[in-house]
């Protein structure tokens, strides 16, 4: 039990941050519930119970939107037709689909942060990786699907890795700050994609919009479950495997050891004979490669075709996510599932209660804020600060700034 306790300890603050964010979120629902507020003067009891009801309905809708409707699950158990089954598991699979790109992007950010470099360019690397995969897929579109899948994925990884290598190399050789170069390279990446999608070779026939030919016509990562309208594909499993791989790499290999050493204390790493520049380049390249893999999985598995909005800010959400997860791969998976659930569950909430999706981004922002200010959580929940993870200055020193 103690072992389990210790393993879960780093999750304590993020967990409480999530709880607190939802509580604060419910206040926001309360004060924007104008229907019930209007009744406050004439029927205070009704207004309050009504408002509390709205909160309950909203969060319940979010929950079943993200995980599944018990009634539908029961129906599917009674009558296991593919249709009923699909409708029962659709919410949870959509959550996993939404989490997939976040896991890749989160891992990409975490590996760079662990090495002491701040890769803000995951967004660009993700988009460019998806673009690389698209170009390869369209080039090979008459080949067997397995070959297309393989080559496009590799192409996506390499493009992303190259886009990470450039700022890494610049930093190691010239000292150019990676925050500046990666942000700038993001813009370059978006423009490359826009430009590429104008070409007849890539652009969808009969449109002037910058969207590619429909890839799903000739290549598709196979779905895990063969049920109607279930989008969950093997990319999610690849994401989980990558989380395990990143964890193994960081903590069980000599290269990972070098990256972490350089990330915590570049001087000491140099004194111990490690190559500081090499560590920076490797970290950025791997980070870019993971982002590129994420982009490939998205374009080959989730969305039908490449467009400039392939990533709805995954690379930026991933920075917050890595912070929430303390750069731990297992934490990244957990945090991605949470964010994914918020995104999918929010849709149903909006339909059922009329509360706008923005509430989710509000809650998401609060979670990050509470994690970034652990002192606030400690005060709220009256922790003994010396017993808290991270209370020891030495353990937090090398973390994300």
């Amino acid at each position: 039990m103690r072992r389990v306790g210790r393993a879960l300890q780093p999750a304590l603050i993020p967990f409480l941050a999530v709880v607190t964010a939802f509580i604060v979120g419910s206040f926001v629902i309360l004060v924007t519930d104008f229907q019930n507020l209007a009744r406050l003067g004439t029927d205070p009891v009704g207004a309050i119970t009504g408002a509390l009801g709205t909160i309950g309905t909203a969060y319940y809708a979010m929950l079943i939107g993200a995980i599944g409707d018990p009634a539908r699950i029961a129906a599917a158990l009674n009558d296991p037709t593919p249709r009923a089954m699909a409708s029962a598991i659709r919410p949870i699979t959509e959550t996993l689909v939404a989490a997939t790109p976040l896991i890749f992007a989160g891992l990409a950010v975490a590996i760079s942060f662990r090495s002491g470099v701040f890769n803000i360019g995951v967004e660009g690397q993700f988009v460019l990786g998806a673009f690389g995969a698209t170009v390869a897929a369209i080039t090979l579109k008459d080949e067997p699907m397995a070959l297309i899948l393989l080559v496009s994925t590799v192409a996506g990884v390499l493009t992303g890795a190259a886009w990470g290598f450039i700022p890494g190399f610049l930093k190691a050789r010239t000292g150019a700050h990676e925050v500046i170069t990666t942000i700038m390279l993001n813009y370059v990446a978006f423009q490359i994609v826009l430009f590429g999608l104008q070409s007849d070779f890539l652009r969808k026939e009969g449109t002037s919009q910058p969207i590619s030919k429909v890839l799903s016509d000739f290549v598709r990562i196979p779905p895990i479950l063969d049920l109607p309208a279930i989008r969950l594909h093997w990319g999610f499993v690849v994401a989980l495997l990558m989380a395990a791989a990143v964890s193994w790499f960081l903590f069980r290999t000599t290269k990972g050891f070098e990256l972490r050493a350089a990330g915590f204390n570049l001087n000491a790493a140099r004194y111990a004979g490690m190559s500081a520049g090499g560590a920076i380049i490797l970290a950025m390249t791997l980070s870019g490669g993971l982002a590129g893999l994420g982009g490939s999985m998205e374009v080959l598995g989730t969305v039908p075709q490449m467009s400039n909005d392939i990533s709805s800010g995954y690379g930026f959400d991933a920075i917050a996510l890595a912070l929430l997860a303390g750069n731990r791969p297992a934490g990244i998976v957990a945090a991605s599932l949470l964010f994914g659930a918020l995104r999918t569950g929010g849709g149903l909430m909006q339909v059922k209660t009329g509360i706008p999706l923005d509430l989710l981004f509000f809650i998401q922002a609060l979670v990050i804020m509470f994690v970034a200010a652990p002192g606030l959580i400690r005060v709220l929940y009256r922790f003994d600060r010396t017993r808290m993870p991270g209370a020891d200055p030495a353990t937090t020193e090398g973390g994300v700034a």
């Binding site: 069980r252 050891f257 204390n265 790493a269 140099r270 004979g273 490690m274 020891d392 200055p393 353990t395």
Partner: protein, 501 residues
Amino acid sequence: MRLELKEITKRFPGVLANDRISIAADRGEVLGLLGENGAGKSTLMNILSGLYRPDSGEILIDGTPRSFTDPRQAIEAGIGMVHQHFQLVPVFDVVEAVSLGAESTTGPVATFDRKTARARVAELSEQYNLNVNPDAKIEDLPVGVRQRVEILKALYRKSDILVLDEPSAVLTPFETEELFGIIRGLAEAGTTVIFITHKLNEVLEVADRIAVLRRGRLAGTVEPRDATREILANLMVGRDVELKVVKGPASPGDVVLSVKDLHVRDDREHLAVRGVSLDVRAGEIVVLAGVQGNGQTELVEAIVGLRPVDSGTTVIDGHDTTSWSPRRVSDVGVAHVPEDRMSDGLIGAMTVSENLILDTYHREPYSTHGSLNAKAIAERATTAVQDYDVRTPSIDTIVGSLSGGNQQKVVVAREFSRPVKLVIASQPTRGLDVGSIEYIHRRIVEQRDAGAAVLIVSTELDEVLAVGDRVAVMLGGRIAGLVEGADATYEELGMLMGGSE
């Protein structure tokens, strides 16, 4: 009594930092507070300065119990702290830095009254012989003078209980002497001075009374005339400590390190090492003495491959290692204990076992084909922790949470447990307590006796005289003199370091 601390107790989770400590100091008295790192000196002073509140016990000032809830109240009660790490704004001049937070103002919009402030700073500097130019910029001042600015700051706030936390740690022998003069002057003028240190000579020289702390308790209070270094060390550590380095005569063998006409530039591209030639033989300890900043750091960095060489050569064990990478140099059999263990020697956020393989992680048995071998690493750490007496809760403890002495033991354990032909140690005992100093010195002598060539950089004359078989004094990037250890005297070395024959 001007100041009394009675039965002060302060508990942190798992540690009793102060256990019923009572000390007192009168007007004009210098109280030496002696103790090893972690003995509770800092906690006690943080209580006095209002940063912590004691769990029990009381602070009496002129016989009246006072309780401070924040540092401001302590300052108002006349308590002034001079911290080990100075709290000065580098771009300010002395007047601004001293009056910051206690500015005298004039006029309806309270503009800073520089004239009055400057006059007071000048007057205080004059009165206590501090010799500080009120108009100098902080960043242009040497460390010793900055410390005097800190003292000025306390005096400016009318403090007459002055707490100096390890004030000599950053000073040269000469500056330390100057500081002692200032302390005596302050005491004569009626100021109560509390002088925190772990250096035995210093308390004996400057204190009127010495309170010794050990593991959170008051181990004893003694008068300097009744005390010797041995008595104090015993009180501090709780056992008899060998203060002299025990070593037999050196039996020098072949030349292991040979530096010829080396020129090296510092970070600002100035020549820091200007033509140094030096041989270190197997089985001897050569100490590179000198005041900090005379090229020792750059010389060592050049030898171990961390800094490019301008001209000249370094030869280690027959290999021309000039401009080799640090790893190649280390692979020849060079152990390097860097000057600043937290910034260069260790990775504070990593564990003890990880720090112990920082230079060997890429070799068998710690890794095979690029994958780390957790079992071998743990075994290695367990043995090293035992062999080098590292006091750590476990091998998975974060190294940054250990005491300075134990951190240094981790560095030494790592560097000395490879096959070593040449040991280079910069300030190997800086900031360590008596027990750890004894230990580190013994290990270094062991390396010599096992046939390694040893080069030590030290600014502390006591250490230079204690361990050196030969002493080379560096001044202005050159070797100002080379003295046989047995013939060297304090005075001779002091003069060579200061640049006069």
